[in-house]
Symmetry: C2
Subunit: 346 residues, 2 copies
DNA sequence: GCACGCTGCGAGAGCGCTCTCGCGGCCGGG
DNA sequence: CCCGGCCGCGAGAGCGCTCTCGCAGCGTGC
């Protein structure tokens, strides 16, 4: 291992190019005010020496870090059981690197971690935060807001009603649910059941609302709460079949629960989609394709969601540097469209 | 949004406690040489002011960042299609935060990204790197080694044969494959086929080797190459059934391919496990549980793998700070055990 | 031809921290 | 009782960068 040569400093580059530190800095940071022959000499010196700016030194004076934290509240085993997390991260990563920002990942597990995260954010290591926190009683959002960092949430937070301009990106859960149910109606189904997700998450609530929008006053016996897991879907389906053996369709709050429902239906000798049509939500691959039959489901562009979150945040960060165009501008919540994907289950 | 009060500096704390900066620094960093009454006064001042050290300033002088990069070579859609990635990250994250290190995530997509990553690592933002790069022609590992940063690889790299002491953590792919095949033999199966993963990845090669260890000179017609996707598993299974309709078992290189194989078997009217027993690899949830029938498979503790990678790296980082116990010590490659999980497919 | 402005560059301070060095006070030994 | 050693603390330099300021040097207008 080559004894790491001491990295060249601005000073060194300046000496080599025969100019002052200030001039090198100007060239490196692309600000104008350096005439061409000189600028070229500096550029040559830079890559002859393999100069790379020391970010720590730079941050020290600019108070910028070109880094944002991605905070995932992890009791959400949901986040970890499915591939969404990775896709979302990829979208975020793409957008961030396109703007030369780094991604610092913070996974929180329990209360201790919250203190740690709060400390970290207060420590001023990052310029902003992207936060995934789905449960209603999560203290994290509060902590983060207190840190005063620009923040964008993934998924509509519970208190988003207020006029306090909290930024978030969400998928059109309600609209997607409506599409799903309308599709079932279009197939001639009339006794349509719904298996909800965990109702302490806005996505589950919104999907239920969408279901109600279309079904207008549905039989309560046709709605059963699950928690987004396959096991809960199976259980809920059995429940529903017990209460309303005549049901002819079911809209599950996500694909995992739809897969569970499929098993319960099979167990009860119902054919899908002939006897009972099934629609899921998420288009979670490879699950949605691997079920028997493959799931008709509502697809959301999860990567785009990540990208958008990052974009929103970066815009805020820019603004806080730029003149004094503070606050106000721009949407506080963005809702992404969904599309119904038809396979064989409905 | 409260106009962020200028964060208190060491200086401020020193003033409040009526001591010098140096003393505060000593207390904050837990070095001894400060007597009790004074130390206590400093501690009080610290949390009265809510002082948090400025990491940039600290890094500037210590040349430490308490941050490590996690680099994921992403043409690996495999990494993104399955939940491993998240689990691994979680393991890494746990270990890192336990040692007060941050996790900087770098996802690379194409050649451009490589340059970016190389620049980033050279820029000295992180103290070390954890690298996931599975394909044989990936230029990333070379770039990273050139940056001279302590590095640990996830999965055995291709060139690990050399004595150059490259550190890695891998699962016991070969041993796991042997277990799987022996299990099938134990069930009385004799015409056992194998669907391999993409053979430019060491995990696939090692699993194939394990298969061969037990089968000693298997009929080449009983081995078919896949690429770790469900579609490839399905295709390979059809191929195998065409060549050897009498086969009575199949060991798939991962669960996704096993799921594909299951579909092909069903399509050909074979009952599982009665006619053909199937074993997968990974215990990838929820897939492995959701197939029909649920998969018997080889489980690896993926989170532990992440944790171990981080631990290995941190050890190296410590050493490079500590006296001059350089190089040499400690294992270069660690292989984690696997366990066979019996469900209904074999 | 002189004053004035503007533009290109250098000098220097300072960001918040760590760490070496040196000094004063206290103790023990002669 | 005096001196040497050690321990606890403060002074100050310096990490590598950015950015303000001021000073030349040039061009322009009267």
């Amino acid at each position: 291992m080559s004894e790491s040569a001491p990295r060249p400093t601005l000073e060194a580059v300046a000496a080599r190019a025969g100019v002052s530190r200030a001039t090198v800095s100007r060239v490196v940071n692309g600000s104008d005010g350096v005439r061409e022959p000189l600028a070229e000499r500096v550029r040559r010196a830079v890559d002859e020496l393999g100069y790379v700016p020391n970010q720590a030194a730079r941050s020290l004076v600019t108070r910028r870090h070109d880094a944002v934290a991605v905070i995932v509240a992890e009791p959400e085993t949901r986040v970890f059981a499915d591939p969404f997390f990775a896709r979302q991260l990829r979208g975020i990563s793409k957008e961030l690197t396109a703007h030369d920002n780094q991604l610092v990942l913070l996974l929180t597990e329990d209360r201790d971690d919250h203190a740690r995260v709060a400390r970290y954010l207060a420590g001023g290591h990052v310029d902003g935060a992207l936060v995934f926190s789905l449960h209603i009683d999560d203290p994290l959002p509060g902590l983060i807001r207190r840190a005063g960092l620009p923040t964008v949430f993934g998924g509509r937070p519970h208190w988003s009603g207020g006029e306090d301009g909290v930024r978030y990106v969400d998928t059109d859960n309600r609209g997607g649910a409506r599409d799903a149910v309308r599709h079932l109606l279009g197939l001639g189904r009339r006794r349509i059941a719904h298996i909800t997700g965990a109702l302490d998450q806005t996505s589950a609530v919104d999907r239920l609302d969408g279901f109600r929008d279309v079904m207008a006053d549905p039989d309560p016996a046709l709605v059963e709460e699950g928690d987004f897991t396959a096991a809960s879907g199976e259980r809920a389906m059995r429940e529903l079949l017990g209460r309303r053996p005549d049901l002819d369709a079911v809209f599950a709050g996500n694909d995992l629960m739809a897969a569970g429902a499929l098993r319960a239906l099979r167990e009860h000798g119902r054919r899908v989609p002939d006897d009972v049509a099934v629609v899921g939500f998420d288009d979670m691959l490879p699950i949605a394709e691997q079920t028997e039959p493959p799931l008709t489901t509502v697809r959301q562009d999860i990567e785009e969601m990540g990208r958008l979150m990052a974009r929103l945040l970066l815009r805020d960060l820019d603004r806080s540097t730029a003149p004094d165009e503070r606050e106000g501008a721009g949407p506080t919540g963005v809702v992404l469209p969904v599309t119904l994907v038809r396979r064989n289950s409905a």
